[in-house]
Amino acid sequence: MSVIVTAILALLGLAAVFGALLGFAAIRFKVEGNPIVDEIDNLLPQTQCGQCGHPGCRPYAESIAAGGDINKCPPGGEATIQALAELLDVEATPLDAEHGEEIPTQVAVIREDECIGCTKCIQACPIDAILGSAKHMHTVIASECTGCDLCVEPCPVDCIDMVPVDQGLAGWHWNAPKDQNIIATDKTGLLEDMVEGGNLS
C-alpha cells in the first residue's frame, strides 16, 4: 500500500514541479505577437489586391494564421499555396476559383491621351505606383506595379489596361525539360517534340 502511495506522491510531485516549470516558461519566454503571421506574409505576393477578400496581404496572413484557408490568393497561385502548405504543414488545396484564376503577372498601363486626370486611380493604388496630379495625365510606374488591377475599376473613362508583363531577354530562363519517364522502347515521337521545343542540345 505504501508503495502505491509513494509512487502516486512521487508522480504528483513530479507533475507539480514540471507544471510549475512549464508555467514559468510560458510566462518568462512568452512571444509577443504571432511570428507565424510574418512568415506567412512573407510568402504572399504582396499585390495587396484584396482578391482573397481581405484588405491586403497581411490581413490574409492573419486569417491563415487563425486557421483560414490557404487557397484564396490567385496572384500567388499554386506556388504560394505549396509554400504555405509546407510552412504550415497542411494539405495543399487547389486554388479557390471563387477568388479568381491564376494569370501571368500583369502590369497596369494608362492610355495617356485618354486620361482626364481625376486622381481616382492614384487613390486606389495600394502601393503608390501611379504618378500624376489633378487635371494632369497620370502614369503607372511599371517597375513598381504589382498588377493588382485595383486601379481599373475606379477609372471613370476606362483608360487603364492590364497587360501581361513582357519579361524580355533579361527575364527569360530555360524551361524545364519535359518529363520523360517512359520506357526506352516507347517510340511515340515524343523525342522529336522535345527537340523542336529546344530542350535538347
Partner: protein, 702 residues
C-alpha cells in the same frame, strides 16, 4: 620548336588536376585542316546592340546615315558595357527588333546595315609601340574598340584590364585550351596569328602588371603549341601544355590546373588575384591598340557533316548565319539541327536568320549520324557517374532530385550556382537524363523567385509606407482640428482670465444681495417689532395718507429687488454662456443695487414716519382688504420672504441640475455658484422662520 610533335611536348611546369572531367570525341580535325578564310561581304548586316554582358550599347547613328568601316555605331552605356562599330561601310537601314542568337529565340534591338560594297575604312589611330601609351589610355581604347570576351561569355574586356581593388594580379592566364569538341577557332587563330595573340597578351600584361603570364593550351593542338612557343621566345610568357580533358577550358578549371587555386563559391577569379582572358580577345586587343581597328569581325568555326566546306572563317559581325552557311555549302536536308557553340555547351538555334556576334565561336551543323539524338531519358539508377564526372565537385544526382521536385532552397544549399553547365554529367549519364537542362531551369527559377521576392518586399514596403502616410495624414488632420479647438478654448480662457476679477465682483454682488436680503429681513423684523411697539397710538388721517405711501414704496422696493435678482440670474448665466456680456451685466446689477438701496431707504424713511402714525388707521386700511384677516405689516414680509426663499430654492435646484449636466470645466464655477445659493437659501429660510416666529408670537399677543 616548330617541328615539335605531341610526343615531344613535356610540361615545364607542375600542373594540377581538377576533379572529374570527360573525354568526348574531339571531332576537331573536321575544321582545323584548312586555313582561316575570309567570309564574303553579306548583303545585310544585323548588329544587335547587346553582344556582351552588361548594358546594351546606346545608338549614336541615324537611320539613312552612311557609315564607314570601323565607325562607331553605338556607345558603351555604363561601366559594364562596350561600344559597337560598323563592320563595313554602308547605310544604316533601320534599327529594329530582330531575332538574335539566343536560346530563347527572342528578338532584340539591332542596327541593320546595308553594305555599299566599298569597304571603306574610317580614319584609324594606329600605335606602333603600346609602351608609349598609359595604362588608362589602353583601357579606354579597348573599351572604345568594343572588345568583349570572345571565348563565349562576352564580358567586357576593359573591365578585366583593371587590377582588382589595390590587389596585384598574381597570374594572368590566356585561355587557349579550347576543350569543347568540334571548335577550332582558337587553334587556327594561334597557328596563323600567334604573334598577334602573344603581343595582345603583352599589352594586357602591361596594363595589369601580373606576377606571371601563362598560356594554357591543351596538348591536342601541337601546331598551335609550336607556334606559340615560337612567338613567346623573347617574352616572359610561359606556354603551359595541359592534358586534354573536357572541360579544362572552363575558367575555374584552367585556374585550378595552372595554379592549384580554387575560385571560392560566389566569387570571381579576380578575387584570388587571377585574370583569365581568351586568346581571341588577346588578338583583338592587339589589333585595337596596334592598328586602331575596333572589333568588327571574328573567327568562327563552321563545322559539322552538314557543311560541305567546314573550316574557320573570319566573318564580319552581324553576318546572318543562314547566309554565311549558304556560302560554305550548308545542306539543310542533311542537318539534324543548327547549334550555336559546341555540342556540350551550345544551344539549338531556333532561327537560322540570326547574326554572328562577338561571342559566336562556332556554328555546328551536325547530321543525325554525327550527333544522334539522345536516347529517351530513363529513371536515375543512382550509379554516381555524374558525381565522378562533375568538374565542380557537386552532387549532380542530388541537384537533379531537388531541381525536379522544385526544392530550390535545398538545391541552392547543394551549391547549384557553382555548376558551370558544362554538361559532363549529362554526357556520362547511362539513363540519358538531361541533367544540365534541369539545372539551367532551376537556376532560372531561383533567380526569378528571388526577383519576385524582391519585388514583393518592395511592394510591401511601399504599401506600408502608404499606410503610414495615410495614418499620418489622418492624425495630422485630427491634430489640426484639436489645435483649432484648443485655440478657441484658450481664447475663451483668456477672456475668462480677463474676467476673473468680474466673477469676484459678481460674487461680491451676490454677497451684497444676501446682505440686502438680510437687511431687508432685519428691516422686516424691525418693522414688526416697531409695529408691536406702536400698536396703540394710531391716527386715521395718518393712516389714510401713510399706508399707500409705505405700500407703494414697499412694492417699488420689492420690484427693484426682483429685478436685481433677475439680473443676478442673468449675470450668472452670462458668466457661464456669454462671457462678453458679463461686464455689461455686472454694471447693470450694480445700478440696480443702487436703485434697490434707494428704494429701501425711501421705504425706511416712510416707515419711520409711519411709526408715528396711529395704529387704528393702519388697522382700518387693513380691514379694507377683505381677504386679509391677519395684520398687514408682517404678512407681506413673510410672503415676500417665502417668495424669496422659494425663488432661491428653485434657483438652487436649477443650479444643481445645471451642475449635474455641466461640462467639466464649468463644474467648479457652478459648484461655487451653488454654494453661494445654498447660503442664500439658508439665509432666506432663516429669515422666513424668524419672520414666521415673530408673526406667531405677535398673533399670540394679539
Amino acid at each position: 620548336m616548330s617541328t615539335s610533335t605531341p610526343s615531344k611536348i613535356i610540361p615545364t611546369r607542375t600542373l594540377y588536376d581538377f576533379h572529374g572531367g570527360i573525354h568526348p570525341e574531339e571531332m576537331k580535325s573536321l575544321s582545323n585542316q584548312t586555313a582561316i578564310t575570309q567570309a564574303p561581304l553579306p548583303p545585310k548586316l544585323i548588329l544587335p546592340l547587346q553582344q556582351h554582358i552588361g548594358n546594351p550599347s546606346l545608338v549614336i547613328v541615324e537611320i539613312g546615315q552612311r557609315v564607314l568601316k570601323g565607325e562607331k555605331l553605338a556607345d558603351a552605356d555604363g561601366k559594364i558595357s562596350v561600344a559597337l562599330h560598323a563592320p563595313t561601310s554602308g547605310i544604316i537601314d533601320c534599327i529594329v527588333d530582330h531575332p538574335i542568337a539566343h536560346p530563347s529565340g527572342q528578338s532584340a534591338p539591332c542596327i541593320i546595315l546595308i553594305p555599299d560594297g566599298k569597304d571603306e575604312w574610317c580614319e584609324l589611330n594606329p600605335c606602333e609601340h603600346f609602351e608609349h601609351l598609359s595604362v588608362s589610355e589602353i583601357q579606354n581604347k579597348v573599351r572604345e574598340s568594343g572588345i568583349a570576351g570572345m571565348g563565349g561569355a562576352g564580358f567586357p574586356t576593359e573591365v578585366k584590364l583593371h587590377p582588382p581593388h589595390q590587389d596585384k594580379v598574381a597570374t594572368l592566364i590566356l585561355n587557349a585550351a579550347e576543350c569543347e569538341p568540334y571548335i577550332t577557332a582558337d587553334d587556327r587563330l594561334i597557328r596563323e596569328r600567334a604573334e598577334e595573340v602573344v603581343q595582345g597578351m603583352e599589352i594586357m600584361a602591361y596594363a595589369l602588371q601580373p606576377g606571371e603570364c601563362l598560356i594554357g593550351i591543351e596538348d591536342n593542338k601541337p601546331e598551335a603549341i609550336a607556334a606559340l612557343r615560337e612567338a613567346v621566345k623573347e617574352t616572359q610568357i610561359e606556354v603551359c601544355v595541359i592534358p586534354t580533358k573536357y572541360p579544362s577550358g572552363g575558367e575555374k578549371q584552367l585556374i585550378k590546373i595552372l595554379t592549384d587555386k580554387e575560385v571560392p563559391n560566389g566569387q570571381i577569379p579576380a578575387d584570388i588575384s587571377v585574370m583569365c582572358q581568351n586568346v581571341g580577345t588577346a588578338a583583338a586587343v592587339y589589333r585595337a591598340i596596334r592598328f586602331g581597328e575596333p572589333l568588327i569581325s571574328r573567327i568562327t568555326t563552321l563545322t559539322g557533316e552538314a557543311i560541305q566546306q567546314p573550316g574557320n572563317v573570319e566573318v564580319l559581325l552581324g553576318t546572318p548565319i543562314d547566309w554565311l552557311l549558304s556560302q560554305y555549302g550548308y545542306q539543310e536536308s542533311k542537318a539534324q539541327r543548327l547549334i550555336k557553340g559546341g555540342p556540350m555547351m551550345g544551344y539549338t538555334l531556333t532561327h537560322p536568320h540570326t547574326p554572328i556576334v562577338k561571342t559566336s565561336n562556332c556554328i555546328l551543323a551536325p547530321t543525325h549520324k554525327d550527333l544522334p539524338l539522345p536516347p529517351l531519358a530513363q529513371a536515375c539508377i543512382r550509379c554516381g557517374l555524374c558525381a565522378q564526372a562533375c568538374p565542380a565537385e557537386l552532387l549532380p544526382q542530388q541537384l537533379y532530385w531537388f531541381s525536379r521536385s522544385q526544392e530550390y532552397d535545398k538545391a541552392e544549399h547543394h551549391n547549384l550556382f557553382d555548376c558551370i553547365e558544362c554538361g559532363a554529367c549529362s554526357y556520362v549519364c547511362p539513363s540519358a537524363i538531361p541533367l544540365v537542362q534541369h539545372y539551367r531551369h532551376a537556376k532560372g527559377e531561383i533567380k526569378q523567385l528571388k526577383l519576385d521576392q524582391q519585388k514583393s518586399d518592395q511592394a510591401r514596403e511601399r504599401f506600408e509606407a502608404r499606410q503610414f502616410r495615410l495614418d499620418r495624414e489622418k492624425s495630422e488632420k485630427e491634430a489640426k482640428r484639436k489645435a483649432r479647438a484648443e485655440a478657441a478654448a484658450k481664447a475663451q480662457a483668456a477672456k475668462k482670465a480677463a474676467e476673473s476679477a468680474k466673477p469676484v465682483e459678481a460674487s461680491q454682488n451676490t454677497k451684497e444681495q444676501v446682505d440686502t436680503k438680510k437687511a431687508s429681513i432685519q428691516a422686516a423684523l424691525e418693522r414688526n417689532q416697531a409695529k408691536k411697539a406702536v400698536q396703540a397710538p394710531e391716527t386715521k388721517a395718518q393712516a389714510k395718507v401713510e399706508p399707500i405711501d409705505i405700500e407703494a414704496l414697499e412694492t417699488a422696493w420689492d420690484k427693484a429687488q426682483a429685478k436685481l435678482d433677475k439680473m443676478h440670474d442673468a449675470l450668472e448665466n452670462a458668466i457661464v454662456n456669454t462671457p462678453e456680456q458679463v461686464e455689461k451685466l455686472t454694471r447693470a446689477v450694480e445700478k440696480n443695487q443702487v436703485r434697490v438701496n434707494q428704494a429701501k431707504q425711501a421705504w425706511e424713511q416712510a416707515y419711520k414716519l409711519e411709526t408715528t402714525a396711529p395704529v387704528p388707521a393702519q388697522k382700518e386700511t387693513i380691514s379694507t382688504k377683505p381677504d386679509e384677516s391677519k395684520p398687514d405689516a408682517p404678512k407681506p414680509d413673510i410672503n415676500a420672504l417665502k417668495v424669496a426663499q422659494e425663488k432661491a430654492q428653485s434657483k438652487l435646484d436649477k443650479m444643481q441640475d445645471a451642475l449635474d449636466n455641466a461640462q467639466p470645466e464649468q463644474v467648479e464655477k457652478l459648484t461655487r455658484a451653488v454654494d453661494k445659493n445654498k447660503v442664500r437659501v439658508q439665509a432666506a429660510e432663516q429669515a422666513l422662520n424668524e419672520a414666521s416666529q415673530a408673526e406667531t408670537s405677535q398673533d399670540g399677543k394679539n
